[in-house]
Symmetry: C2
Subunit: 189 residues, 2 copies
DNA sequence: CCTCAAGTGTACCGTTCGGTACATATTGGC
DNA sequence: GCCAATATGTACCGAACGGTACACTTGAGG
């Protein structure tokens, strides 16, 4: 059995970074929290930044596949899926491990636009946008790209308010607005 | 003349933290960028965190007064002011020094809910929410608090997308959605 | 059984971290 | 002109930073 120490490291590092932040988490902390020796870490990744990039790549895969499959599970129709996104978000916000969007936080800590961490963060949002645009097109929206951008805006806003504990039900509020946008395309409102 | 070194420090430190982040900015960097000696800094603030808190307090005052006065300048009617917020945001996004919302970034770096930086960040959003609620009430909205929450969601989402360079005109997109929400309360569309 | 890749623990590197000590300017009010 | 208050530069503290060196252990495959 080769449990692939590298994947184990990335997956465990993800949790630590997600909970404690990137700059605030030192390599020694990472060693202690993951139980993997520093020697091994640096055998797999040249620098801390490289590890962070691998972490974000994993997060991107995990989050997108979770969100999209959850949306698909909640509705068959494209417009219904878009609305269901906010139901899925509400489920996420309710989980005890919820701590905001990892990519918003990553881009907040690495603001330099030339930095790969920043770039990967915006690419993640870009990919969400494309998926939403596809669904909006399938739903017969008159301006699919525009509708997708508006829904993405609602999603990001809801995540921020949830992470900052500003309002009690950010997903519900966003869903309410989303319903207004989607009403023309929802079958049997 | 007593130019109040403390205020000068806080105002200059604000710019450095805003551009480079909190954890990523060391005290030595702060000394170099502000031109104020470390001895003086620690005569005014016991710890780095205390300085950050003062910075956020200043930012809160500056941003709120800027946004509210800009909204008021753009429209007399309450509903018009709420819509004008997104015009004001667009102006902000266009400024070269724009680098996202300082409070979103602060709460991303200080995730511990007991930490004063986190608390102050949510309080800032809370105060925005109250202002919006007041305007929504004045506009005659049927659910002022709900409308305020939805508009705040749009605002935060737009800021995130602007800071991450995901879409070309986040303020315009958010404004479009906001108009739908506000339409019943806007005089003469 | 031996090999060899992969992982470990520990000690260490130079640098930077947040923060302090202290002796020296600078400066407005009396 | 003198006194405080407030600034400064510099040297320093112990701890933590990202990263490396090296000798050692583990374990599956030929």
């Amino acid at each position: 059995m080769r449990p692939n120490k590298r994947d184990e490291l990335v997956s465990k590092a993800l949790n630590v970074f997600y909970r404690s932040g990137f700059h605030a988490t030192g390599m020694d902390t990472l060693v202690k929290e993951t139980g993997i020796s520093k020697t091994s870490i640096y055998k797999h990744f040249r620098t801390k930044d490289d590890l962070i990039i691998a972490v974000l790549r994993l997060r991107d895969e995990n989050f997108r596949s979770w969100l999209f499959s959850r949306m698909a599970a909640l509705s068959d129709a494209p417009a219904g899926q878009l609305l269901a996104m906010f139901t899925a978000l509400g489920e996420w916000f309710g989980k005890p491990e919820f701590a905001g969007c990892m990519f918003i936080k990553a881009s907040a800590e690495f603001q330099n636009r030339a930095h790969p961490v920043y770039q990967q963060s915006t690419e993640h949002k870009q990919m969400l946008l494309e998926h939403f645009t596809g669904l909006a097109k399938a739903a017969g929206a008159s301006d699919p790209a525009g509708l997708a951008r508006q829904l993405l805006t609602l999603k990001e806003g809801a995540i921020v308010l949830a992470a900052m504990s500003v309002t009690p039900d950010p997903a519900g509020d966003a869903r309410y607005t989303a319903r207004m946008l989607l009403q023309p395309y929802l079958a049997g409102g």
